[in-house]
Symmetry: C2
Subunit: 487 residues, 2 copies
């Protein structure tokens, strides 16, 4: 479909740094973590997404002759380095949290272990893909949550930030729980349901609204959602729709999947009035679909007002995540070793802001579920070789306030390692589920959160703790750096 040579979709500094390492040869193998610091939209969680596209990107990585020529034209790169790029491919390991999983701040969603030049090159595109899709999947899950079981359709392509934002944004929206998208290309590429009705222009291109409705009904009697707000919802749109529905009923049509769409005005008032009019005419089961600058807050408010809407088309605010349009994922060096060494040396980046100090070492994440309820108790970031026995008691503590301790009784909790192998020595060892399968996974994942974490205002934070061993390494590194600063 789309031939993606995205090898040059990177920041220039990745390439200048690569040349730096090339000119100062090193056997360094490094660990980079991709993680984020703050849940989008002030929420209590995020949804990991974008891994399938990251896999494609890493698999396809290669510098074409055109790419080499272009880089040469910049007069920054020497011919020996360009020759190296000509034969470049990724030889490292990648671990990632599967798509559709609920995730929390500071957890590595993806970990790259590779020679430093390779690990550096892939930074920008990995972040781009992970940031975008995780953002939209998270936003979609919030909108779907507000709709309380009603279907939510993704309608945002025209307002998306470019073709890919529409294409992959709709993919992510499906993962987050939408029941369909208007985006036909997404439907084709990812085998997800496509949905839609008609535009105001359809109505306006006929002599009158009734004729437009009638023509549409004759074309699509089994998916006849009529757009009623071109002229006047209650005085023209709904009466004309009822007239057409009556004719359909008289013609013996099964009357399934029929209804109206309201795209402007006071949705609470109009939907209640429309529902009353439809019910009085014997069409109380008509779908009432709404689509007008919706988001999770507006849907929640309309529900609270008793709006008679049971189908939601959400565009701009979902596809751009308008109240928080960037996920903020970063990619930070966590450990280094020489190729022949067995152990990694943990590395840390300081910051004036305590929250921004990175977690050092080659890590993984253990998710701790409460055995009785299946809900998440906490996540534990630990070193990748740590072993925990869920039959034993476990004491976890808040790394920002170490006196806040919790004891989990042995046998009361289940452990699951979140990071799974995706690439091993440059070979992909992971098969992505289909988007609809990831959507199912995501629904189950969301069920592992309490409603208190899913709510929009002041959600309860899920604890992300550090293992005792990791906490000690981090403290020692900080102490050493602080000591060095005053010497």
């Amino acid at each position: 479909m789309r031939a993606l040579n995205l090898t040059l979709l990177t920041d220039l500094y990745e390439l200048t740094m690569m040349q730096g390492y090339f000119k100062n040869p090193t056997d360094q193998v490094v660990v980079f973590d991709a993680f984020y610091r703050k849940n989008p939209c002030g929420g209590g969680y995020a949804i990991a997404a974008g891994l399938e596209q990251i896999i494609e990107y890493v698999r396809d990585l290669h510098f074409s002759p055109d790419d080499i020529d272009y880089l040469k034209s910049l007069n920054i790169f020497d011919s020996d380095f360009l020759e190296y790029l000509r034969g470049f491919h990724f030889t490292g390991d990648i671990y990632a949290i599967p798509e559709g999983t609920v995730v929390f701040p500071r957890e590595p969603l993806l970990k790259v272990i590779a020679p430093v030049m390779e690990a550096q090159l892939v930074e920008t595109a990995i972040l781009n893909l992970l940031n975008h899709q995780s953002l939209i999947a998270t936003k979609a899950s919030r909108v779907v949550y507000a709709a309380k079981g009603d279907g939510v359709m993704e309608f945002g392509l025209r307002r998306a930030q470019g073709p890919d934002a529409g294409l992959y944004g709709a993919r992510a929206a499906m993962i987050g729980g939408c029941i369909g998208t208007s985006n036909v290309l997404t439907g084709q590429m990812f085998h997800v349901p496509v949905k839609g009705t008609h535009a105001h222009s359809w109505i306006m291109s006929f002599p009158d609204e009734y004729t437009a409705f009638k023509t549409y009904a004759s074309l699509y009697p089994n998916a006849c959602i009529l757009l009623v707000d071109t002229y006047d919802v209650l005085n023209s749109g709904v009466p004309n729709a009822i007239r057409v529905f009556k004719e359909m009923k008289e013609a013996g049509l099964p009357m399934k999947g029929y209804g109206i769409r309201i795209d402007s005005g006071d949705l609470a008032y109009l939907s209640k009035q429309a529902h009353r009019m439809l019910s009085e005419a014997g069409f109380g089961d008509a779908i009432i679909s709404a689509s007008s600058d919706l988001d999770e807050y507006l849907i929640e408010s309309l529900k609270a007002q008793g709006a008679k809407i049971n189908s939601w088309g959400v565009g701009t605010n979902l596809i751009t995540c308008n109240d928080n349009p960037a996920f903020g994922g970063v990619y930070k060096l966590a450990a280094i070793k020489n190729k022949e060494d067995s152990d990694f040396v943990p590395k840390i980046k300081l910051s004036e802001n305590v929250e921004k100090v990175t977690n050092p070492g080659n890590k993984t994440i253990m998710r701790i579920y409460d055995k009785a309820t299946g809900k998440i108790r906490a996540d534990l970031i630990c070193l990748e070789d740590e072993v925990f026995n869920p039959e034993e008691d476990m004491i976890i503590f808040d790394p920002m306030a170490t006196w806040k301790k919790t004891k989990l009784a042995g046998g009361s909790y289940i452990l699951r390692e979140l990071l799974v192998p995706v690439f091993q020595k440059g070979h992909c060892v992971y098969t992505s589920p289909s988007v609809m399968e990831i959507r199912d996974i995501c629904q189950k994942e969301l069920d592992t959160l309490w409603d208190e974490t899913r709510r929009f205002t002041n959600p309860q934070e899920v604890f992300v703790d550090l293992s005792d061993k990791l906490y000690k390494i981090k403290s020692e590194l900080l102490e050493k750096m602080g000591q060095a600063a005053i010497e």
Copy 2:
């Protein structure tokens, strides 16, 4: 580079409506206007962008056998319609405002005149491309304005909403006035300067900061911007940078394009202190570059605080237009005629919201410049066949408050038609300038605005008036519709 078959990048309803028209044959030729209603970020203008990609999209439009198979699999489309799609290509006319032009609400940025099926199909992708790039070009022009002549670099790829948002967002940012981008693929595809230095990981992969700096300086002595905030800006980063600069100077290097980058912390304080330290060491001309969640407001504030920054790397907030991530462009039916008729019948869409009532008819836009200053006096939306003589007095009026009249003396103003032909009978008749040429055009365009319109808070609105003839047609249509509603 990227094989783009974006024919299915459309909303499903465009295709279901097309089938509707196919099944109810019509000779209708229609006029659709793409316009927006509100300037992004509360500003006083926007920058048109994205036309080059729209041209590529329209030129490439075709349904591949795979596309037809996919559409067939949906069980919505009949074989005769699919057969029609197999031979589909665009045969209509497109007019557009050239990229880089300053534009205002309610003006058609692009106008499609085509058989209704064709005009309908292209809606979604045209809006997607126009909305995205116009948004980012506008945001970039604001950030560049705040920087008051300092260079602004686009650094946002990792936070962009997918690959295209990074790729074309950087293109649009260049149009809006950035001096370069970190995005190598944008550099390659659009022949714009690429820029960059190194990351914290570069510093951390060396035994100490000084060694990292020294190594970088030996690699790139003519573009040696050292990132000084990995450990401690004033106690470690700047002193180490000064040590390296001294060594470079002693080695007889020309010391051009050298300096530091600060990526965190209090940029006002740190830049002033760093500048003092650099100056005392004889490096008062060092570049001080900043890059930390910047936008136009923060840059304006840093300037007001006397921050010693003269180079700006702007990422997330530019590439997503974070405070207003959707442009809001719409595509509305304005007129219809039968193929054999010469005159279009104007069409109007009503709305509860007076501002949302569309402007009917086959229109164009005349820009009125003040001859003495070269600044824009007003824009006039008129019918495409209206003729104005700039030697005669012209009276313009606010269409929302018709008593607000202005008389322009004959000879004191210059007229320019903004819409230019892009496609004629399906053939492209327009050649896009290069991105750097569009950037130059945009700089000149911005000079046609008063500073009062460019400021961020309460900008002075540029008047967009309707011609007398258009105003009368609109009023009559509204009157007729209002009359019909009460009958």
